[in-house]
């Protein structure tokens, strides 16, 4: 990606593989102002010692190739160039990259699973994953994160012409985990990407899903649910870069927050460049604040540089449980706690229903229930 191709948004003005191109953030930068840097365990300033233990296992159905390669492999970094300091740190620091390839026209009967498990240990760990889906192929991928770790990684999704990739990324880390991650999808002509993020665990999770299009006809749907407990910082930073005509994107993230110093951050950037005529995009973030002391920051940014869009909109709403909802349910004899559970479950459940892997859908609903009965 040369200088001239960089996204126009001032929030993402830099892209480089070289760590030295990024200054150590001090927390006043727009891109870092919501993130508590002191809790990043040195991922942002080079002070994180290596040595963290994170095991990555992949389970690939027949016909899918999964291999560990060195950084000199031409597929590594082909679709994505790090856009911030921690991303560049991860790129500079990973040992082997996992490359998963789905051949053209393949239709997988079961999902590819990548299991990322932190096994504690002192220091940080870094990762890099490339998932390539060949032309006209259809694949579903589940990435699970669990355990205890200080982990930074970059994940590239390369979706071929007319192909479909559905991804569910689960962040079910232990309470002390720190995870900073970029998930970048690059869509070829008429490609479809469905990204679903579920973030429940971790002390600090900062996940940045982004989408770029290389040709017209791309269709991206980015959804996410999160449940923030006391003391947790869960941050999602979306970027959709419409640089091609007649592409579509839809973003819908919903979260619930409860407890002292529970902090959710959602940044939704959509850029529609001058050449991206016929773009259809909508982004939405909603937060349900269940207790005092919790805080949600929600910032949608829509930059439109062409007059010829099919549709472009955004909405953001953060609020408390609606008294009228609770009253209605209580007036039918349902106790307050149960009424609250029904409303929150309904609020998140509407999105969770979109997860196409049934096993995951039920697990996520059960996890939400467990959060609510804490």
């Amino acid at each position: 990606m040369g200088l001239n191709e960089k996204p126009l948004s001032t929030l993402h003005e830099k892209a480089s593989y070289d760590l030295a191109d990024f200054e150590v953030p001090n927390g006043r930068e727009e891109a870092w102002r919501f993130t508590p840097l002191s809790r990043l365990k040195g991922l942002h300033n080079g002070k994180a010692a290596p040595g963290g233990q994170v095991a990555v296992h992949v389970r690939a159905p027949e016909g899918v190739q999964a291999e560990w390669v060195g950084r000199d492999d031409s597929r590594v970094g082909a679709a994505y160039v790090p856009a911030d300091r921690v991303s560049a740190q991860a790129y500079a620091s990973f040992d082997k990259a996992l490359v998963v390839s789905v051949p053209k026209e393949a239709e997988l009967s079961e999902a590819i699973w990548i299991d990322v498990k932190g096994n504690g240990g002192e220091g940080a760990a870094y990762g890099h994953v490339v998932v390539e889906v060949g032309p006209m192929a259809q694949a579903t991928l589940v990435i699970e994160h669990s355990g205890s770790a200080v982990y930074a990684d970059n994940v590239e999704f390369v979706v071929g012409e007319g192909a479909t990739l559905k991804v569910v990324s689960l962040q079910e880390w232990d309470d002390d985990a720190v995870h900073v991650s970029h998930h970048h999808a690059r869509l070829a002509k008429d490609a479809t990407f469905r990204g679903f993020v579920v973030t429940l665990g971790g002390d600090l999770v900062r996940l940045s899903p982004s989408v770029a299009y290389t040709a017209p006809g791309g269709d991206a749907d980015l959804s996410g649910v999160y449940f923030v407990d006391a003391g947790q910082h869960l941050e999602h930073r979306l970027l959709v870069d419409h640089s091609q005509p007649n592409c579509r994107s839809n973003v819908d993230y919903r979260g619930a927050l409860q407890g002292e110093a529970a902090h959710a951050v959602w940044i939704g950037d959509v850029v529609i460049r001058a050449e991206a005529e016929g773009t259809d995009t909508y982004e939405l973030n909603r937060n349900l604040i269940l207790t005092d002391g919790a805080r949600a920051d929600s910032v949608p940014n829509l930059e439109i540089l062409t007059g010829e869009v099919a549709g472009a909109g955004h909405a953001s709403a953060s609020g408390r449980l609606d008294d009228e909802h609770i009253f209605y349910l209580q007036a039918r004899g349902i106790p307050y706690e149960e009424a609250r559970r029904l409303v929150v479950r309904g609020f998140l459940g509407q999105l969770v229903e979109k997860i196409e892997v049934e096993e995951i859908r039920e697990r996520v609903l059960a996890a939400v229930e467990a959060e609510l009965s804490r």
């Binding site: 609606d322 008294d323 009228e324 909802h325 009253f327 209605y328 349910l329 209580q330 007036a331 039918r332 004899g333 349902i334 106790p335 307050y336 149960e338 009424a339 029904l342 409303v343 479950r345 309904g346 609020f347 998140l348 459940g349 509407q350």
Partner: protein
């Protein structure tokens, strides 16, 4: 034999007094109609009895079989046997009708209904109110037409079988067919058990289908006149003008 006894009830909203001493007793087997002009406080009476947080009780008592409902939480009142059919049922996204009804029935009965029996009761209830079967899977009140919302309120009335039902302008916004279906539901409920009904309405039209034993005229935050069904006929002919002048 259940009795709802409202004694000198006074209610304010944001320091503005709305109800100025309401006295009314509804016994099982009786149907009382409360009629009155808009803004007279009829709906305030309904919501205050049910315990909506917007209303502040400044005096009086509401006793259901001797228990002061005003001391109870909203859900405890419902479980004690009170039901409020709402004028504007709120939409609750993501909560399905069937899930909601099962939760409500479980709470009110104190135990989960047997699934097969519940499914049967639900289907029978929906059929009787001409509610489409697909309705059970929809989100609570979301995208319901005015008529669907009111039928759904009466469906809950029939499933929850309260001791006393307060129906707040259940007839408003209904066409004649829907009004008949809803009225039949109320009449089934009245016939099914020894229950009391407090029917709040602006118009006399529903009283042609649901015959009241007593009619009360509500104006200026209190009951200003009481009588039998003939009072409703007089109101039909003369309107509320005489009462609004008095209370103004």
């Amino acid at each position: 034999m259940s009795t709802l006894e409202i004694r000198d009830l006074k209610v304010a909203v944001e320091d503005k007094e709305i109800l100025r001493g309401v006295n009314l007793t509804v016994k099982a087997g009786e149907t009382h109609a409360i009629m009155g002009p808009n803004g007279s406080g009829k709906s305030t009476l309904a919501y205050a009895i049910a315990g909506h947080p917007k209303y502040t009780i400044t005096g009086g008592q509401v006793l259901l079989d001797g228990v002061d409902l005003l001391e109870l939480s909203v859900d405890e009142r419902a479980r004690a046997g009170l039901f409020l059919a709402m004028q504007y049922p709120v939409e609750v996204p993501g909560v399905s009708v069937s899930n909601f009804l099962r939760s409500a029935v479980t709470s009110v009965r104190g135990e989960a209904p047997k699934l097969r029996q519940f499914a049967k009761d639900l289907k029978a209830g929906m059929d009787a109110l001409s509610i489409d079967a697909a309705f059970a899977q929809r989100n609570l009140n979301e995208g319901f037409s005015g008529g669907e919302k009111k039928r759904h309120e009466i469906l809950q009335l029939e499933l929850l079988k309260p001791k006393i039902a307060v129906l707040d302008e259940t007839d408003s916004g209904l066409d004649v067919d829907a009004l008949r279906v809803v009225s039949e539901g109320i009449n089934r409920f009245r016939a099914s058990a020894d229950t009391g009904v407090l029917l709040i309405t602006h118009y006399t039209r529903i009283l042609r289908y649901v015959k009241p034993d007593f009619v009360h005229v509500f104006a200026g935050g209190r009951i200003v006149e009481a009588g039998g069904p003939e009072l409703a006929e007089r109101l039909e002919a003369e309107g509320y003008e005489q009462y609004t002048k008095v209370s103004a």
